[in-house]
Structures are given as C-alpha cells and as structure tokens.
Symmetry: D2
Subunit: 377 residues, 4 copies
C-alpha cells in the first residue's frame, strides 16, 4: 500500500482534532493509503516541536512554507486562524498538495473563489472541515430525506448555538475581525453546510444579523467597536421548493455544542442535536394508530461506518471519531474511491451563502444566492 505524507499546520483546537482524526482513521478504517505523519508546523519552532511529539509527527517546523515545500508531504491540513487560510492553501495547491482546510474556508467569497479555482485548476483534492455532516446519524437523516422516507419536505429549522462569547469580558480576537469574522462565519457556516447537505442548494435568503455587545476589550483593555454579528437568523428558500430558517449564535447560555436541526416532511419528521450525536429522533406517520411518537434511534452497526469503530450498537462515537470519518472521506477522494465529500467548491459556496446573508441583512431584503461553480446535490 502506498504511503501518503501528512503536513499539519496549527495545533490548537482543530489542529488537535485533525491529529486525532488521522490517528483514529488509521486504526479504524481500511484506508487506501498508509499514513505518514510527516511534518507538524506551528507559529514557532518550539510550539511545533511540542505538537510534533504529542501528535507523533516525524518532523516539525515553525515555518509553514517549509512544510508545504517538503516533498514527503502529500497533503496539507490547515487549522490556523482564518486570515491565513488563503495564503497557505494557495501555496500548497501550487505545490501540488491535496489540501484539507478548516472552516470558514476564507475571509471573503473573493478569497474562497480564488482558492476553489486554484484547486480545480491544479487538480488536487480539497476538503473543508464541515465535520458534523460526517456523523452517521446525519448521513442517515440525509438518506431519509433523499429516499422519500419522510415524504415531501415542507419545513427546515437549523440552529448552531454555542455560548463561548457570552461573557462580555471575552476579549477581542480574530473572530471579531470585520473581515471574515462573526458568528455567521464561525458557526453559521456549519449550520448552512448541514442545511445544504440535507436538503440541497439554498437559492434565496433573508438575513438578520445582530450585534448584541457593541464593544469588546482589546488586550490593553480598550473597548473596540464590534462590527460583526453575535446572533444571525435567516429565512431560507431551498431549490427543492421548501422553505426554512437557520440561526447562529455564540451567546447561547447552556449550549456548548448546540448544532441542531428539525426536518418536517409529509410522511414524518426528524430532529437532531450534536450534544447527543449518537441519536436521531424520528417520527413516522406510518406507525400504527395509537403508537405514534418520536423514537430515538441510537447509532449502531446498521449506520455505517459505525461498525468500523465498534461491533456492538449503542456504544457511542465521539467527536474525534466523527473527525476520523471526515479524514477517511478525504483520503478516499484522493484515492479516487469517491468524489470530494466537501471540497473547496462547497467551502466557497458556504462563503457565498454567508456573504449573501450578511448583504441581505444590510439591504433588509430577500436576496438571491449568486450562482456558484459547485452546487450540492
């Protein structure tokens, strides 16, 4: 089996998730390649060295360009602050590497369009980390929608709510940058990816972006005006004809991981929350009289690839396991076993969607989503 070299840039929250995702994928799945944990890069040599040891890489560097240039690196995983995504990704693409970048893919749709074009032109495989859609229960949800099991879909409600900016003392950081920041970029991108994964393309939106805390403190304690959204809601029109709504909030007390959706069809309904990622609630109108009710389907061996992790149902997958499934999709796409599950084209599209929602909110008008080269099925 061929060996494929990984270069990972960034060792924070998502860097860690990538490292664990690759390590788990290597053990759990029948991958098309043997993994070589080649190079770990971070902001400094010291940080990179620490991460290298922790995550089991062969080498480390404080210079991401060295990583990109390393011939033993065949794929580059980018988990840096968002503002660096474009430069690194373009360099990696230019060097012929496959690229796996955390969301949001870039700061603007101009950036992401350039990135998607470059990748397509270079013929490399790309991936954006919309990891929630890799969950077997979300895949099951999609299947239930697409197969007609739920009938015609009449309504959708998707929310991604967390509470990590609730404390007013949380200081200014890159997520508050006017360009590319805000909850819509950070969490709304997930909500939109899940919505399109389940129901297909969104054609029109009406956005309502709200800033709740008008300032955040800089490191030296100066209040800096916040120009991004703390909470965003949007009305949605899907190309399939149904309507719905999405909401993103980072001011949601009590919801550390409130990525949720409800889908209502003419034959049933489903609901999901990432806080119970091994469960899908399902209501079937076909249940016998007097026996109707939402049932809690627990992830099990009937929901691939659960069985690769555990041969007994109901034992629970974790967040890092879902990341491993994401990794598998990327590697399978590189090997030509399947299409890109969520390539830069889709990452760009999500950026276009968030931009459109923001523009719609400013214009206070329903706004068509501009056409994108990639359009999810």
């Amino acid at each position: 089996m061929e060996r494929i070299g990984l270069g990972l840039i960034g060792s924070g929250f998502m860097g860690m998730a990538h490292a664990f995702g690759f390590a788990i994928a290597e053990r759990v799945f029948d991958l098309p390649y043997k993994l070589d944990f080649a190079v770990m890069a971070d902001a400094t040599d010291a940080l990179a060295k620490t991460a290298q040891e922790r995550f089991g890489f062969r080498e480390s560097t404080g210079d991401w360009r060295a990583l990109v240039a390393d011939p033993s690196v065949h794929m580059v995983a980018i988990t840096t602050p968002n503002a660096l995504h474009k430069e690194i990704a373009l360099a990696a693409i230019a060097a012929g590497k496959h690229v796996y970048c955390e969301k949001p893919l870039g700061l603007t749709s101009e950036e992401t369009e350039e990135m998607a074009h470059a990748a397509a032109a270079a013929g490399v495989v790309t991936q954006v980390g919309f990891n929630y859609i890799c969950n077997p229960m979300v895949v099951l949800a999609r299947h239930m929608i697409r197969s007609g099991e739920l009938g015609d879909i009449v309504n959708y409600r998707g929310v991604h709510a967390e509470g990590y900016m609730l404390d007013p003392a949380t200081g200014w950081n890159f997520r508050f940058e006017p360009l590319g920041g805000g909850v819509l970029a950070d969490l709304g991108s997930h909500a939109l990816a899940t919505a399109e994964f389940l129901l297909g393309p969104i054609d029109e939106v009406f956005g309502d972006c709200r800033t709740v805390y008008p300032t955040r403190l800089s490191r030296d304690g100066t209040p800096v005006p916040v120009k991004v959204d703390d909470i965003t809601c949007a009305q949605l029109r899907f190309a399939r004809g149904c309507g719905g709504s999405m909401e993103a909030s980072w001011l949601a007390a009590g919801e550390p991981m409130g990525h949720t959706f409800h889908v209502y069809g003419t034959k049933g309904a489903i609901s999901f929350t990432q806080e119970r990622l091994n469960e899908l609630r399902h209501y079937s109108c076909a249940d016998p009289e007097g026996r109707h009710g939402f049932r809690t389907i627990l992830a099990g061996t009937e929901h691939p690839p659960y069985g690769d992790f555990c041969v007994a149902s109901g034992h629970q997958l974790g967040f890092n396991d879902i990341k491993a499934i994401e990794v598998k999709g990327f590697l399978d796409a590189i090997a030509g076993r399947q299409a890109e599950p969520m390539g830069f084209g889709w990452g760009h599209r999500i950026q276009v969607l968030t931009d459109t929602i923001r523009a719609s909110s400013r214009a206070k008008a329903w706004t068509n989503v501009p056409p994108t080269a990639f359009r999810p099925k």
Copy 2:
C-alpha cells in the same frame, strides 16, 4: 358571595375546554363569585341541549342572541368559528356583559380594534383565550426574565407547531378563509402572545408566510386555491432591545402540541414545550464549575397556583387545569381583584401583530408594528 351567570356559546373543542375550565375553577379556587352555569348556546337547539346536559347548564338555546339578552347571564364566553366573534362580542358588550372570547379575537385588526374600543367604552371586562401563558411554568419563565434572574435577554425563539393540516386530504374549512385564516391566525397568535407575555412589546417584524399546499378540497371535492399561510416564520425586534424569531406551522409531523420557546440571557437560559407543560428547563450560569447543565424544574407547590390543584409537587397539571387558571384570572378581573390578564386590547394587538407580519411578508420588508392602545408591559 355573589352569583355570576355564565353563558357559553359553542360546544366544540374550545367550548368543551371552557366548560371544563369553569367547572374546575369552581372547585379548585377560592373564586370571588359563585358560578351559575346559566345558558348554553349552539348552532341548533338540539346541539345546545346536548351540550347543556353534558356541561351542566341550566338552560340552552339555538339562538345566541337569546343568551346574550338573558339577564341572568353576566358573562359571555365565545367559542364559535372566528367569523362570528365580532358580532357576538359586540352584542354582548352592548348588553353590558363581560366577554371571554377565544383567539384569534377577530378576522382583521379593524374588527378587533372595534371590539376593543367597544369593550373599553362599555367598561366591561374582556378576555382572549391565550391560555398557554396561564401555565405556572410560563409564569415562572416570565418571572425569571423580569426579575433579572436570566440577566439581559439576548435572544428569543418561539415556535407553535402542530400537524393537524399535514394530511393533504384535510378539506377546506374556516381556517383557510383568506380573511382571518391561516396558521398565523390560528397558531401564530399563540406564539406571539407568549412572546409578548414573556418579553414585552414587539416593535418590528419581518414576516415570511408560506403556502405549502396550493389547494384544499371543498366538501364536494373541488380543489379550492389556498390563499393563507401553512407555515410562517418571522424575525422579531422587541422594544426591550433584543431580537428573536417566531414560527407557526400546522404541517409539523409528530408535534401535536408543539408550543415551545427558548430564551437566552446573559446569566442563563430557559426552554419550554407545551407537550411537557409541567416542566421548565433552566440553565444557570451561576451553577458551580463542573456542575452546569439544563435542569428540569417540575411544576410544584412553589409555583402558584399549582398548590390549589394538588398539595404535593410533581403530580402534573393538565390542559383543562390551565384553562381553569385562565378562568380564575377573568373572574378576578371582573371582581376588581386584578387587572385584565389578557383583555381585548391585547387580543387586538395580537391581531395587529399578525396583520403586520402578513403585510411584511407581502412587502418583503421589515415593518414597524403600528401603535396600539394596549401595550403589554
């Protein structure tokens, strides 16, 4: 103790709920009056007679005007189809009766304004049946919001979803009338009443009214075009400064009574569903480290007037019990013990809100809610 005579018009779903609500209130509460179940009216003498016997009224009539004219009737409860509300209510007010009318109060805001004015001018006490807000757990929610226990409120999400129009074979009925019908009138009015009860006045809305089934069948099987909404979402701005959203749907599979809300504050959050009406979920940021989590508060003797129903906590109130609490508020207002809890002024205001949402949806624009004489605190 003085005796007060009740005239009830209509013996369908809500007529039954009124009859039971008055009967339970009489036993459970220390009411200001002794109740006289005086006259029962329905569309025909026969229907009225049957209902009279079932509900324990002294007399019955197939002519609501006779009921209104009866001097032993001091208060008139109206549970007829919506199109009759205005005529009956105005007649009752003109006869000096107190009036208790099911929601929606009327078909248009012109109607409801006239009704509210007439009631105010006549000095009678009025009530509209927004019964969910009488639930002790909803009152607790309001208290937690108003007392500051949840901190500053940053977001609101209210939904009233049911599924009784999901079957495409459900034929045309008064709820599909272009004037005054649709899910916004039928269920959205509840969602809006709860929103204003909890958070105070809504000042601006953006509505998205959707018709999913373009036709319904008339009794003779002819398809009739549907001009009302099956599903409506709206973005909301509250006078208190926070934003939020509401949704009403009668196409929601699996939710027979999905009246729900989430309130997010800077010190905590709460959530509620009428399908578990004895529970309020509460998250407090003040909980000790490592011990945070949504707790399920069960209705009990600390949540008045629960203790009037049962001296032991956790034994559960039912839908009719909540209606009895509503009845108590009406009678207390008649006796001058408290202000009208939800008078025609508020009923009119809710009509204005639904009209504004509808108009906003047509105009595809954020729309200010016109001023109303009554404005909830």
Copy 3:
C-alpha cells in the same frame, strides 16, 4: 337520570383529590348518575364546614358517623388517616353504602380481609384508590402486554420513589406507626398494584425492608425509634412465569412523583414514569432495520378516555383528571356497567402482598403469597 349522593370524609391531600375527581368526572364523562355532593365530614365541624364550601357539598359534619347514617349519602369516600379506614368502611358497608377508600386499605391483612368480606357479604361496590392504573397510558401498557404486542414478558422493574421523608427533621406521624405504616404501605402498595394490574398475580416474593433513619422526632422533640421501612426492595415471581422486582422509597431526592416501570418482552419493551404521565416509551423489535429506538407515545384521542377531556391529542391530562377516571370506574361499577376496577378484594390482596414482603424480609426467605379470594387477571 338517577341522583347519587356522595359523602366525603377527610379534606387533606387525598380528600381534595377526591373532591376534584368527582367534580371533573361530572363534567367530562357521560356518567350513569347525576352527582349529589351531599355531605362533607372532617375531624371537626369547622374543618368540615370550610371543606364543604370549598368543595361544593350541601352539608357538613364533624362526625363521620352522621355522614354514614345520612340516607341521602349513597357512597362514602374515605380519605382519613389509615388507622380509621376499617372502622369507617365497616360502618358504611353496614349502612349499605358503596365505599371508596384510599390506599392502603387497612393496617393489617386481618383488617382488610374483614373489610373485603364485609363488602362482599353486603353486596356493595367498593374501590381502593390505586389511581395510577387509571391513566390511559398505563391502560395502554397493560393492553400491549396482554395482547401479545410485547411478546412474552421476561422481566419487570417497578419503582415508586418519592422524597417527602428525606429530611431527617420530618417528625413522627402516622406513617411511622409500626402497625400499618412505612413506605411499603404508603408507596409500595402503589407499586404492587401497578405490577399486578400490568402482569397479573404475584405468587412469591423476597423482601428487603430497610430503615435508614433509626429515629424520628415526636412533636415534643423526643426521638422515637422508627420500626418501619424507609426503603423496601423485593424480588417478585409472577404467576405468568416471569420474574421482576419492585422498590419503594420515600427518601428519593429529586423524585416528587417517581412511580415508574419497565417491562421487557420478547417483541419489545415499554417504560413509564408518572412524572411524565402523558407519555409511554415503547420499543418495538418489529421496527425496520436501522430505525429501531424507544418512541415516546403521547397521550391522545386514540387512548380512551383521553378524548373525553380534550378532542386534540397531546394536550396533556393532569393528576386530578386521572382521579376523575378512577371516579368514573367506581360509578360505572355501581351502575353495573362494569366490574369493580379495584375493589376491596384487591385492596386486601395488596395488603397481603405488603405483609408477605415484610414477613419475607424478617424471615430473610422467599415467601409464597397466601391465597386471596380476589386474584387479579
């Protein structure tokens, strides 16, 4: 329609529930009789008078014997402390009254046998207040067991846990009396009634009665040794061949109304808690592959007599509504419309069961339940 006179003795927790139960039943159901709320009795004239007014009785008395002797009283409801049950019930039976007594029926099985015999000899209708089994969802559970829908039943787990004795400062009261007291009498009787209602007769038990707080304080502050159980568990053998267990505790923090059961069959399983009395959780092995899961069935119009309370599903019944269903069963039995749903014969049997569990605990041995005249199907 014939008029039937009610005499109610006791106006505490359960006296209130009886008064409300009769009042609701009168409005909600098509009863075989017209109710006459004849006489209210309590420990003193003053208490009785207050209760009379609150509960709408015609007369009151501080002497229960006067109530029993009153010819306008046709049925006597007893909600006094347990030690008085026997004397009052025997007097009422001797006077030819139908008798409706709260559980536990008596202090000892000698007492309850005498009561059951007397009732049978007199030909009056009797009832013991095992109200949880009147819940439509519990009736549904029984139906699912008896119809074979769950297959062969292989295991049962029933618990009745509450927390009202958890505070060590809770002083001595009649529930601590060595004769007839303890949690087994107070809550275990409910757990056993539900177990036999669902699965039929229990033939053999192994009891484990535990006293956790060795003393309770008398009114003057003297510690009195506690000779009754605070927590009792028992292993059970049902005549149908399956085994199971029951537990009763009044020291259960967090469970104001923890009457729960799990039933496991070869074709499915169900679980229930009285804290969500409108729900029955059901797992069906026959669900399609990958769609298995416990579903939450919400009480609705398909679960009689829910529809008598409300014509729309999912609106929730309350504790007093369940009591009204119990009342209906008693009245229907008096009218000969149905057999006694839970007569003194069963009340005696439950007493025998609790006595046997207590004896088994003392003997530390599996013990056969002695034969009883009444044996549930």
Copy 4:
C-alpha cells in the same frame, strides 16, 4: 522516553477496542512510555496477520505462547474467550509481563484468586477491563459521592441491561457455559464493578438468578439445556452501611448499552446511563426554592481527562475514548505514577461477588461476601 511493547491476544469485539484504545491513548495523552505495537496474536496465523495489519502491529502469530515469550512484549492484553484467560494470564505473569485482561477475569473464584496471587507474587501490574468506570462522568459521580456533595448515601440501583441474547434463535456459545458463563459474569460483573467503584465494598448479597430460555441450539441445531442465568437481580449491602440493588439482563429489548445507575443521598441524587455516556444527571437539594430539578451535566473540560480529547466542552467522547482512558491508567500504573486502577485483585473480588450472588440464589439466602485480599476503597 522508554518504549513499551504491547502484545494483544484476540481481535474480536474487545480486541478491536484494545487496539483502538492504545492507539488513541498514544495520541491523546502524555503517556509515560512510547508505545510499541509489537505482536498481535489470534487463533490462527491468518486471523492474526489480518489483525496485525489492521491494528498496526509489527508482528503476528497464531500461537499466543510465542507472543508471551517475545522479549519485546512487556505487556499482554488478553481479549480471548473467558475460558482461556487464566492459562494465558498465568503464562504472561510467569514471563514477567504486565497483564491487561478483559472481564470476567476467570471462570471461577478459584481461578481468579490464583491469577491475582500470581500477579502479586510476581510484582507485575495487572488490569481488568471494567471500562465504564473510566468515564469522566462516572469519576465525577464517584467524586460527588466521596466528597459528601450528595450527603449520606441512602440507596443505590445499578442495572446493566442489553438485548443481545433476546432472540431465542441465538445459538449456544461460550457465554452459556455452566462454568463461568451467564449474564452475571458477562454484564453483572460490570454492574458490580461500577457499584463498588462508586460506593465501596459490598458485604452481603441476596441473589435471584433466572433462566428464561431453558435451551439454546447448538451448531447442529440440537437444543442444549441452559444452566446459566439470563437475568439476575441482587439485593446489596455496602460496607458503608447503605443498601441497594443490582440487575443484569441480556434479554432487554431496546437497550443496546443499558449500563445505568441511580444514587440517592441526603443532599442530592445522580443518575447515569452509558447510552448517554457524556451526561450525568444531578439533583441538588441545595438549589433555590422553586428551581429544583435534575440537571444534565454535559462532559467538558472541567471533567478530566475530557480536555485531553477536546478543548471545547460538550463535544462528546466515544466508547473507544473511554477505553483509551483505561489504557492510560494501566500505563501510569506500570510507570508507578498511580496505583493499579482495577487490578486482578479487584477482578478476583468481582468474581467472588458474582459467585456469592449465584450461591445466594441457589441457597435462597442472604450471603456474606467472603473476605478478599483486595478491597476497594
């Protein structure tokens, strides 16, 4: 850092969990050793070879003795059928290896005593795979009990219910062996380990072992009488003074992973189910009036070692992650960083407990648990 060689015997359900657990532990934790995935053994060379490749071992063998003899193997993980545990473990101990064996440790308490003695005499570190107790939420539960946060514990209810033997067509396998089989060995051992982990030693038991299906089919279709338990309940007395109960069932429809417990104290209560392994439900009597209720604590960074897996709370650990925590404890014990978390001494003790419960069931008598060299704190 020193390198430590792992030999894994068996590649079935638990062999896979071990392989994944070591792989995850290696990436997630700061382990005291560098792991060498040295030798994989299985029943045949071919099976071993396949597993070696899948799980990333250096070598493979169809002969476990070769693995034990290999000097590069420092620790032996045993996941074979139970009947082989003793022979392999004793050989490994004799060879000076540390041994990590799946539960149940052996077939009889004579076996396990010999194994525990041998390990102690040889001074090697041992571990038995009671993995549920490694869950941060179970560790939190223990802390809440031990720190006094829940007050005095008054009652315990532990259940391990699954449904994998529910189908009567499930044929005879090693779990039905009269010696060492049955649900008490297979699942009851987990329930007992959790009970003692939380509350300390059990001193006395009353067992009720039940065989529901009297025969199972052998491979050639012959019915073989079943001499082991399908469902076992036991009453328990803990050395700390409180009582409780346990139940084990492999006939529980709908519960793929029903490892649950309820702990009731004088200051609060907790409950847990492994089907939602990231949650601990907690009721605190100290909550403010009107705000009581079970809260759902979600695993997060305040619950070590959650933070090693993910820096954001609420993202969920999975079954294999819990196994990785178990692995870490074993390696830390080998390195002398901590005591054996669950060594052969405890494995033996659990065997003694299951034997005592079985003996008690046969004797139909409360039975003292014989003293064991190891006694959990």
